[in-house]
């Protein structure tokens, strides 16, 4: 068959048609090729789990995720400066207490309830404290992923040596403050310690201090959030106990000890620390038991700090990237049972709570059992700054540099002096 020569006009028309056809967005095509940026502070073992899940997510959806992972303390200033400059990520994982100040400073995009519901995120699917933590002044800014929280770890070997095991060979669990101190004193000798709260630097472990404050009905701010509450009598009682831990009681390690290493090395019997430690303890083959955080003051409150997914404000709206980010949040929420099992973080969504693999794990079961007692930080933009001011003050109490009352009154002055 003889070939007909192609005229210049036909060639140009054909080329234009081909270019138009390939450039026209087909449903799902743009999103499947989208690349989103995702910043988080999962620098521990949970980061590896997130990597695995993201790899699967990309295989299944075609959406690439460029992660930037840096310590939480560095991540937040970076978000604060990058987002207004239009250099922020499409998605960020942040702690609940960061939501108020980021929302207040216009760093986060508000999520309207209709959009969230349309994507399948509803309040009744979550534990109330975690769902509520994503809001600030009546607007939603984030969606909860999981609930890092405190737990009481008991070193079986150390407890056995101190004779603190029951007839079944399981370590005894202290029922209250006096019993905890008595048991800890039985364990403490030489360089072995009875009790600690916090992973490293227990003297300046604000999350542990908050846990005790909350158990005693105290808080950083008064309930109306107008002034510091740390010099109230209930807070002072906690500060006195904190001073005792560092010195007179003689049960806890020094202020800058690495409690995690001490627990693994068999130099620490009872340890209140974050739930993120337990997978590492299993990897290190430590013989330990887990129990709910004991009630050391008036109420059995458990400190928690849910991770929240948030959408930082972009410089200009990019619908495809935003949709891709939503797809990622949806996908990870649907696979949150795996996150819970591998990363050791109980999901905020109720969906995974009935999973037999989760309920069959004794530690995860204990963590889930604490849910009614979870408490989070107060919803004020000043919370994080106040927490940073608290750190050196409680350390000075722990190390005996300052009397508890004077130190807490000084802390109250500092908190009240924070600018608006």
């Amino acid at each position: 068959m003889a070939q007909r020569p192609v005229s210049r006009r036909t060639f140009l028309a054909g080329a234009a048609a081909a270019a138009t056809a390939t450039a026209w967005p087909r449903p799902g095509a743009a999103q499947s090729k989208a690349t989103i940026t995702y910043w988080n502070g999962l620098t521990g073992a949970d980061g590896k789990v997130m990597d695995e899940l993201i790899e699967r997510f990309t295989r299944e959806t075609g959406i690439r995720v460029e992660q930037q992972r840096l310590p939480w303390a560095d991540l937040y200033p970076k978000l604060q400066v990058s987002v207004p400059a239009g250099e922020g990520p499409d998605l960020a994982l942040i702690h609940t207490v960061e939501v108020p100040h980021f929302a207040n400073d216009g760093v986060l995009e508000a999520i309207d309830e209709a959009t969230a519901t349309g994507k399948g995120f509803r309040g009744d699917g979550y534990l109330p404290a975690t769902w509520q933590g994503g809001t600030f002044q009546g607007k939603r800014y984030s969606l909860p992923l999981d609930v890092p929280q405190h737990l009481l770890y008991l070193n079986v070997k150390v407890m056995k040596e101190a004779g603190l095991v029951g007839a079944d060979g399981k370590p005894k669990v202290p029922a209250g403050r006096d019993e905890l101190v008595t048991m800890a004193k039985k364990i403490a000798r030489g360089d072995t310690f009875g009790f600690a709260i916090g992973t490293s630097n227990p003297g300046r472990y604000t999350w542990g201090f908050h846990n005790l404050l909350w158990q005693n009905g105290a808080n950083i701010y008064t309930p109306d959030l107008k002034r510091a509450g740390v010099s109230e009598p209930a807070a002072l009682e906690v500060a006195e106990f904190w001073a005792g831990l560092g010195g007179p009681l003689g049960i806890a390690p020094p202020a800058n000890a690495n409690c995690r290493d001490a627990f693994i090395a068999g130099r620490l019997g009872m340890w209140i620390a974050g739930s993120w430690n337990f997978t590492g303890l299993r990897e290190a083959k430590v013989d330990f038991a887990a129990a709910p955080v004991p009630r050391l003051f008036k109420q059995p409150v458990v400190w928690s700090m849910p991770h929240q997914y948030a959408f930082p404000k972009p410089k200009s709206a990019d619908r495809n990237r935003r949709e891709a980010a939503w797809t990622h949040v949806r996908w990870l929420t649907d696979h949150v049972a795996e996150w819970t099992l591998k990363a050791g973080q109980v999901s905020a969504s109720r969906k995974a709570h009935g999973d037999p693999r989760v309920t069959g794990d004794p530690v995860l079961k204990t963590l889930l059992g604490q849910a009614p007692n979870w408490q989070v930080g107060q919803p004020t933009p000043k919370w994080v700054a106040a927490e940073n001011l608290t750190r050196p003050v409680i350390e000075s109490i722990y190390t005996g540099q300052k009397p508890a009352k004077a130190a807490m009154e000084d802390l109250a002055r500092q908190i009240n002096a924070l600018p608006d």
Partner: protein
């Protein structure tokens, strides 16, 4: 100025221009911008702010934590200067000659190749009160263990020891270069005159090392006023405020306590003024001619 001379000067400025432009853009402009911010209530990430006049500076007069951090910085500077001067000098004198000097210079210089974070983390572990090897060996020797970094009496000294370990290699190399510059004939003449080791050191080595000593003191003092990395990793300013230095306090104000860039900039300018005064004083005190 003649026309030819003007052209020559113009050509020189033309060659200097790229460097000057970069210097102006990345040094002078941020410096002046910092000065401007120090008179405002600027916060990181917030577009609007108000002019406060000297309020950030006058507030520093009431900021007890700033006072403590100034005192700690001064203490660190004074207490660390002698070991920083002496330890590398003694090593340099020992390593100026000898069979193993090349290997040993490398060994002593090695810590300086490490980042401050690596050094800090290593020493954090070494000094850990429960599982750290330092306390382990003390206990083995029957000496009670100590919480070096959690005890206000020892924390700053532990930071100084870490710094000396870290930077000795750097100053060692500087001293060695200075020692190599001293003419051998002077030592030979001193030996012929019957001068002993101490007399030779006091009358020849030390005076002729004066420019090197000046360099070491000035750079160390400037660096000491700006100490941050070791403190941040080892103690975060603790226990309490016992090792909180000015830059640590400045960092916390700017990046942790509500991103107060205006207040932090004021601190930075006060620190700048202090360093400037000390540098000028040091130059005046240690200035002198070296004559052979």
């Amino acid at each position: 100025m003649t026309r030819g001379r003007r052209r020559q000067t113009g050509t020189a400025y033309l060659f200097l221009a790229p460097g000057l432009l970069l210097f102006a853009a990345f040094r002078v402009y941020p410096l002046l911008e910092g000065l401007r911010l120090s008179f405002t209530n600027a916060r990181l990430g917030r577009a609007s702010y108000q002019f406060l006049g000297l309020a950030n500076y006058t507030r520093l007069a009431d900021d007890t934590r700033f006072h403590v951090s100034l005192w700690n910085t001064a203490f660190y500077t004074v207490a660390s200067t002698l070991p920083i001067l002496a330890v590398p000098l003694v090593l340099a004198l020992a390593l100026n000659r000898g069979a193993l000097r090349t290997v040993l210079r490398g060994v002593f210089f090695f810590p300086f190749t490490l980042s401050v974070v690596t050094v800090g983390l290593a020493w954090l572990w070494l000094l850990d009160p429960v599982v750290g090897p330092f306390n382990y060996y003390l206990r083995a020797l029957g000496v009670p263990a100590r919480s070096w970094l959690a005890d206000p009496a020892t924390a700053m000294w532990a930071i100084i020891a870490t710094t000396v370990w870290w930077v000795t290699g750097y100053y060692l190399v500087i001293y060695l270069a200075g020692l190599q510059d001293i003419p051998r004939e002077l030592y030979e003449a001193a030996a012929l005159d019957g001068a002993g080791g101490w007399r030779t050191f006091r009358s020849i080595t030390l005076p002729l090392l004066r420019p090197v000593l000046l360099f070491v003191v000035v750079t160390h003092v400037i660096g000491s006023f700006q100490i941050f990395g070791q403190v941040f990793v080892l103690t975060s300013g603790g226990p309490g405020d016992a090792t909180r230095t000015v830059v640590q306090h400045l960092y916390e104000t700017a990046f942790q306590n509500f991103f107060q860039f205006g207040a932090a900039s004021a601190m930075a300018w006060v620190l700048f003024a202090i360093i400037m005064v000390f540098s000028i004083l040091q130059f005046r005190l240690l200035r002198g001619h070296t004559e052979y």
